[in-house]
């Protein structure tokens, strides 16, 4: 991963983020029903998009790692899982802060919220496993197995949570698309925010991935040196 690309992405992130903030707080009009809190939505949705995309990348990398056995896929998987975890946390927190004033509750077991929360729990387990195991090929395989099982589980999670919500009487009826973007300026603000978060995510992922790559290569190098010592008959 080239350093120059990272610098460009970092610059793009900065510019887009400034633009997004301007559009969210100044350009876009205040939503009639929800008032000013609706502006949380412009950053909440990009966080969700980025988190789900990241977990998708993690699962795909897991499959590629088990298939090809190259540690580069494990590094990508770990980086994507960790970065995804950061944004998934943000989705849950901002979602709560939006729900409280609008729906009058911090949390509802709405299907999207519940699915996000379960994904967060799964990857929490993933992170704990990685934290409590040495950095070996075995740990890499474990990570891949968990990432794949988690991704495979998602459709069943969605199906069960949907059915649960439709049958169970919901106290608060969540309006589908209760954040109707009637003004084109709102759509524009959302699109710029999406671009800003995609860039931010790309930058963080690249940073973490480069770091993990460096760590893996450093480990390999340390082994090379130790092997060279060994071949020379030194201890």
């Amino acid at each position: 991963m080239n350093r120059n690309i990272r610098t460009i992405v970092a610059a793009a992130t900065f510019i887009l983020m400034i633009a997004a903030l301007f559009m969210v707080f100044d350009y876009a009009p205040t939503e009639a029903d929800q008032g000013i809190v609706q502006r949380i939505f412009y950053f909440h949705v990009p966080c969700a998009w980025v988190a789900f995309a990241s977990f998708g990348i993690a699962a795909l990398s897991g499959i590629l790692y088990l298939w090809l056995g190259d540690r580069i896929w494990d590094d990508l998987e770990y980086a994507a899982a960790e970065t995804g975890m950061v944004f998934c946390t943000l989705v849950l927190v901002t979602g709560s802060l939006w729900a409280k004033p609008i729906w009058g509750t911090w949390w509802t077991w709405d299907s999207r919220l519940t699915t996000t929360f379960i994904l967060w729990l799964m990857y929490g387990g993933y992170m704990m496993m990685r934290a409590s195991a040495d950095d070996t090929a075995q740990t890499a395989r474990f990570g891949a197995v968990i990432a794949i099982v988690a991704a495979a589980d998602v459709p069943v999670v969605i199906a069960s949570v949907r059915l649960w919500r439709t049958i169970h009487p919901a106290v608060i009826v969540t309006k589908e698309g209760g954040h109707g973007l009637e003004d084109p300026r709102m759509v524009a603000a959302l699109l710029v925010s999406l671009a800003a978060f995609t860039a931010l995510y790309g930058w963080l992922l690249m940073l973490r991935f480069a770091q993990l790559r460096a760590r893996t290569r450093l480990g390999a190098l340390a082994r090379e040196i130790a092997l060279a010592y060994a071949a020379a008959g030194d201890d």
Partner: protein, 60 residues
């Protein structure tokens, strides 16, 4: 202008979490740099040993 606090909290949390994560990345980078230095030191020691005893072939 009601609920301004929620809006402020949401954006404050987004930026502080990302900031904390960047700090965390930066600290791990420092640890990685330390590892590189340790490896360099080891390599230097290897080179010194090689120049002292030319008789036995040693890795560069």
């Amino acid at each position: 202008m009601e609920h301004l606090g929620f809006l402020f909290a949401a954006y404050a949390i987004i930026f502080s979490v990302i900031f904390v994560y960047v700090v965390f990345l930066w600290r791990r980078q420092a640890a990685l740099d330390a590892e590189v230095s340790a490896l360099e030191a080891r390599l230097h020691a290897l080179k010194d040993a090689a120049s002292k005893s030319e008789a036995s072939p040693r890795p560069k």
